[in-house]
Amino acid sequence: MGNKQTIFTDEQFEAYQDCTFFTRKEILRLHGRFHELAPHLVPMDYTNEPDIRLPPTLTVTMPELKENPFRQRIVEVFSEDGQGNLSFNDFVDMFSALCEMAPRELKAIYAFKIYDFNGDNFLCKEDLEKTLNRLTKGELTPEEVSLVCSKAIEEADLDGDSKLSFSDFENMISKAPDFLSTFHIRI
């Protein structure tokens, strides 16, 4: 904006503003961050919507994601191809769902996807074990991990299929008021 070259047209800005929770300034900031990741790949001019995807190896180096135990999952979930290759739109999407304004339902859906490692739309025991291993950097013994996971499933599973469906997950989240503020990445 200003005296610099145009990065987005007004229509693009409006589309972004209507479809995400960001303002014009934040979109520009996001673009800056995206550009930073790969200055030679990402052009400054996005008016013609170039289709450039950054591989996960690049995106997870962002300071916001670098230390996140779920970084790989996050980029995978938000990438269109499921491999973690993020286009700028995916990138905006990602931070839109993770921003403060996003409603609980939206966050819950994406959180569920992130925790659902095998993509079967249930959080089964393997998913929880993977989650736990990421969260505790392997300090617990396998028995303990298994015990914690089965206890967790037992607690949260309402319909008795010994895995957590989305409704179980939502129900659990409704009891965790912190979720809204913790499932949140500032950019």
Binding site: N68, N121, L140
Partner: protein, 989 residues
């Protein structure tokens, strides 16, 4: 489409005139179909009715008949059809209806395609309650679009649906979504689009379509107005966006907040947010006070008498030089400013109303944020929540610091280990241990209360001492410094006693760590409030009687307290945290690096803010000090935090704590300050010699005088009336109180109801899960059994008829069991689906599947059955016979299944109602089947008689069904809607 007809289709006006519009609408679809089959419905087994638009293509005479008759036959696809055409979506916008030739081929030769439709169509039946609000239904769609719950879709695929069908389904959903979005207001629409769980590209696509559709619709209307309104809304929206942008630019400390959040997580961040929030309060208060009280005073009387020189100690004591300034109450005059030709500025009223308005606004803001916070974050404790919650909801995505991440992981694993051992330990606790715990609990409470009382007493005596010291003071520097004793002691108590309280942590044992935090908070609040209470008592009794300009003295006292508190906060945080860090790292390793105690720090802030609120009347510019204090504190705490502290081990429930802090800020703190101010204003005579209210009986008399003056002004009569009849009348307050109590009672009752509802819904989820599991199992059985015979979808038509009986048996069995299952689950009055799409979708699918299977096998099995004698054998087609028999059977089944259900309990009847409706639908399909032959009249010699016979039969059946349904109508309105739909359809027939 599958969801739409509940929410919109039924109410859609287009539904009623669809038969006339239908012709216009068919072309776009027609072009795809071509007319490859000639007459696609030649025989009875070609009960083909898959696409209504196809009907219009019947050659020759068929055209008119179909337009007339079939156009009225409402069945599954109708609602969908009707809306799809009705709005004349620009053709280019519509996602292409991808009906591949393959698809066509399959369907034109099988007996399945009706069921195919019905299959989709069954979904809304069960989905009804969930789709009552557009928002919810949208969420489903979005979710399905994202294939978050492809269970349904997977099931579709398993059931042999091609990808095209699934795609079709999704396209339809998208259309419905767009349709729904178009109907919304701009604001709602943007919100809805934002909330869609889709990729940005999809959202943009949908948004584009909605916009084009909107403009298309608009262009049909009067253009000028539309353009104008569009421009206006657009500019409004741009303006709103710019406002948010400006707000963001002004946002303080964004980077710092991010850094703190990244290193210490959300819990610690909430302290800084709270600090910032309080800072905003004070900035606002400063602006208001400065603008409405100080500036007029300075303008009218800028001269500050320079009797006393500035010595430096005033910065601490607030006495001396400051005493003459506008910092205190005493510095304001009681004169009305203004020259003859300008309206005068009444200082008394300005002072009174400014502070009253500020307090009111503060109260409103507090109540608002408290209520919002309660609604959003405060969740009733569920005692069972532990492991799962810890596992899935506690990870703080904010944290970006490598060390912090490591530490968090450590903490979490320790906590998990603890929770594993906790369960065992707590269960095995013997009685003696428990008694010991209770004794410790009691002892600590007694001790803490005693300490609080002791502190209060000490401060009271100190106050008495100070009073005498001030009376005797000669104005020397030492005397002035001695006034600092009281605030020093108060601040010291505030610093030391909480630390002492936190030692109790080592002795007390709580099953719940959160409980411990609450207890500590409660003790601290009691301590702080008792100290403040004593101070206030001293001010309003002793000080108010003794000193000539007592408001300024109180103001000074508050100033000293605020400043001293500030110094102690700095010292406390710096030395407390810094020293314990040094000790922890260098001397005694076991102590470790200190944690940042959020609760204690926030309580300090609350205490500081209480002082500021109390002081606002006595020292209007006290907020300036408060602003400086908070500003410095922010950076100080940040530095101290990053240098000395580690994040708290027990992370979690930070949001809940935040709510509690706001509540504490409101209840003892704000309410206390307001009541003190109210007492001062209403009852204590203001000092005679200084301040704006000198010479009045009470501060509030200023308002009386003003009202008295207003009585002479004609245009202000209403103000006088309001004051005399509302503000001063007891009846008004009595009524208000009564109304509020009634409302509280009503809301309380509503809350109780909601609680019951929540329990019911939870039970429902459980039941849904069981249903789902059962039905999936059945489905698998079915599919296994189907492996023995050819795939039903493609070869139903070719199947030898005598082979169908095992299928029938199977289906009946499955159905029977399904109904038993439902009967069982209906004990809780559930089986009406929730908005949990996962289970509903799949169970609905299974439902539909079973029904289809059953209908199919029934139809198959009756094909060879001899014709019953009571029907005149006037060569009706076998389809007719089938239909009747199937219906008969369905009805008898109805009877059979209804008997066990106790009719006095309407909730229990739900499953049977559902079955009924499904059967009615089934019947409808069969009727449609039976309708087929009459489309080609030349194959019958006398079609009228059987037709009328069939009609009669149908009518009777319908009547019966309606009577039966009537009795179940009351419990659930969505069902009602569906039934009415059914009735309407029957009527049309």
């Amino acid at each position: 489409m599958s969801y739409y007809n509940n929410s919109g289709g039924y109410n859609n006006p287009a539904y009623h005139d669809s038969d006339t519009l239908q012709i216009d609408r068919s072309p776009p679809r027609k072009s795809q179909h071509g007319n490859p089959h000639g007459n696609p419905y030649p025989r009875e087994d070609g009960a083909v009715l898959r696409e209504r638009s196809d009907l219009h293509q019947l050659p020759g005479g068929g055209q008119t008949i179909s337009d007339d008759a079939q156009g009225r036959v409402p069945w599954g696809g109708l609602q969908e059809e009707s809306w799809r055409g009705e709005d004349c979506l620009p053709v280019g916008l519509l996602p292409p209806q991808s009906e591949s030739p393959q698809w066509q081929h399959d369907f034109s030769h099988s007996g399945y395609q009706v069921d195919q439709k019905a299959h989709y169509d069954t979904t809304p039946l069960v989905r009804l309650p969930s789709t009552t609000s557009g928002h919810v239904s949208m969420r489903f769609r979005g979710s399905r679009k994202m294939s978050l719950f492809p269970v349904g879709e997977a099931a579709l695929c398993n059931l042999g649906l091609s990808e095209d069908d699934v795609k079709n389904e999704m396209d339809n959903e998208e259309e419905n979504l767009i349709k729904e979005l178009v109907a919304m207001s701009t604001r709602d629409r943007i919100k809805a689009i934002r909330d869609l769980p889709m990729t940005f590209a999809d959202k943009k696509h949908i948004r584009g379509q909605v916009l084009v559709f909107k403009s298309f619709k608009k262009s049909q209307k009067w253009n000028c107005f539309a353009d104008c309104s569009k421009t206006v809304t657009l500019s409004f929206r741009r303006c709103g966006a710019n406002m948010t942008l400006a707000g963001q630019t002004l946002e303080l400390w964004r980077g710092t907040m991010k850094e703190v959040g990244g290193k210490f997580g959300t819990g610690v961040l909430s302290y800084f947010k709270f600090l910032k929030w309080l800072l905003m309060f004070n900035i606002f208060s400063f602006l208001v006070n400065f603008g409405f009280i100080t500036i007029p005073q300075l303008v009218s009387d800028p001269v500050i008498s320079a009797e006393v020189n500035f010595k430096g100690l005033e910065l601490l004591t607030g006495a001396g030089y400051f005493n003459q300034t506008v910092l205190y109450y005493g510095g304001y005059s009681n004169e009305s400013q203004g020259t003859e030709n300008k309206p005068e500025y009444n200082m008394q009223l300005a002072y009174f109303f400014t502070i009253a308005a500020y307090m009111l606004l503060c109260g409103a803001a507090l109540i608002y944020s408290m209520a919002r916070s309660f609604r959003k974050r405060f969740v009733l404790d569920d005692k069972a929540s532990g492991g799962a919650w810890q596992l899935l909801c506690t990870w703080d995505f904010n944290v970006t610091n490598e060390r912090a991440v490591r530490q968090r992981k450590n903490n979490l694993s320790i906590q998990l280990k603890e929770s594993l051992s906790d369960n065992i330990r707590l269960a095995l606790l013997p009685l003696s241990d428990r008694l010991k715990h209770y004794a410790v609990f009691l002892g600590t409470w007694l001790l803490s209360t005693a300490v609080a009382v002791g502190c209060g007493a000490a401060i009271y005596f100190l106050c008495q001492y100070e009073k005498e010291a001030v009376n005797k003071s000669s104005g020397s520097l030492v005397d002035e410094a001695s006034t600092l004793l009281l605030p020093f002691v108060v601040s010291l108590v505030n610093l030391v006693v909480p630390l002492f309280y936190s030692l109790f942590r080592k002795i007390e044992v709580y099953s719940n760590p959160r409980m411990q935090v609450y207890v500590i908070i409660l003790r601290n609040v009691i301590l702080k409030m008792s100290i403040l209470g004593i101070l206030c008592y001293y001010w309003v009794t002793d000080v108010a009687e003794q000193f000539p300009c007592w408001e300024a003295v109180v103001g000074q006292g508050l100033y000293r307290l605020v400043v001293m508190d500030f110094l102690f906060l700095m010292l406390g945080s710096f030395f407390g945290e810094f020293l314990s860090n040094v000790i922890g790292t260098n001397c005694i390793q076991s102590l470790g690096v200190p944690e940042f105690d959020i609760a204690r720090n926030v309580l300090d802030l609350i205490y500081a803010q209480t002082l500021a609120w109390i002081g606002i009347y006595f020292s209007p510019l006290l907020p300036v000090i408060q602003i400086i204090k908070f500003f410095v504190l922010f950076y100080l705490k940040k530095v101290s935090l990053t240098r000395n502290c580690q994040p708290p081990r027990r992370a979690g429930r930070a949001a809940q704590m935040q709510t509690i802090f706001i509540a504490i800020l409101f209840f003892p703190s704000f309410v206390g300050a307001v009541s003190l101010l109210a007492y001062t204003v209403w009852t204590i005579p203001p000092s005679e010699s200084c301040g704006p209210f000198r010479g009045l009986n009470t501060t509030f008399s200023a308002v009386h005088i003003w009202i008295h003056d207003l009585e002479d002004v004609n245009s202000a009569r209403w103000t006088v009336w309001v004051f005399q009849h509302v503000i001063q009348s007891e009846i008004f307050y009595f009524l208000i109180t009564l109304i509020i109590i009634v409302f509280i009672y009503i809301f309380w009752q509503i809350t109780q109801g909601r609680k019951q509802l929540i329990a019911l819904l939870r039970q429902q989820i459980v039941n849904e899960g069981k249903d789902k599991a059962f039905l999936l199992e059945k489905l698998q059985d079915l599919q296994k059994s189907k492996h023995s015979k050819p795939k039903p979808k493609k070869e139903t038509g070719n199947r030898p008829e005598n082979e169908s009986s095992p299928g029938l048996l199977q289906a009946l069995l499955a159905r029977q069991q399904m109904e038993e299952e439902e009967g069982r689950s209906s004990t809780f009055g559930v089986s009406m689906p929730s908005d949990r799409s996962t289970s509903t979708t799949s169970s609905t699918m299974v439902h539909a599947m079973l029904l289809r299977q059953q209908a199919d096998s029934q139809a198959g099995s009756y094909r060879g059955v001899p014709f019953p004698a009571e029907y005149p054998a006037l060569s009706p087609t076998s389809a007719l016979i089938q239909a009747m028999q199937a219906r008969q059977m369905a009805e008898s089944e109805d009877e059979h299944h209804r008997t066990p259900v106790p009719s006095q309990n309407p909730v229990n009847a739900l499953p049977s109602t559902m079955i009924q409706v499904m059967q009615a639908r089934q019947r409808a399909q069969l009727e449609l089947d039976q309708d087929e032959p009459y489309r080609a009249p030349d194959s019958y010699d006398d079609p009228i008689l059987p037709t009328s016979n069939a009609m009669m039969q149908v009518m009777q059946a319908r009547q019966r069904a309606e009577e039966e349904e009537e009795s179940y109508r009351t419990p659930v309105s969505p069902w009602l809607a569906q039934q009415q739909l059914q009735d309407k359809y029957n009527d049309r027939y």
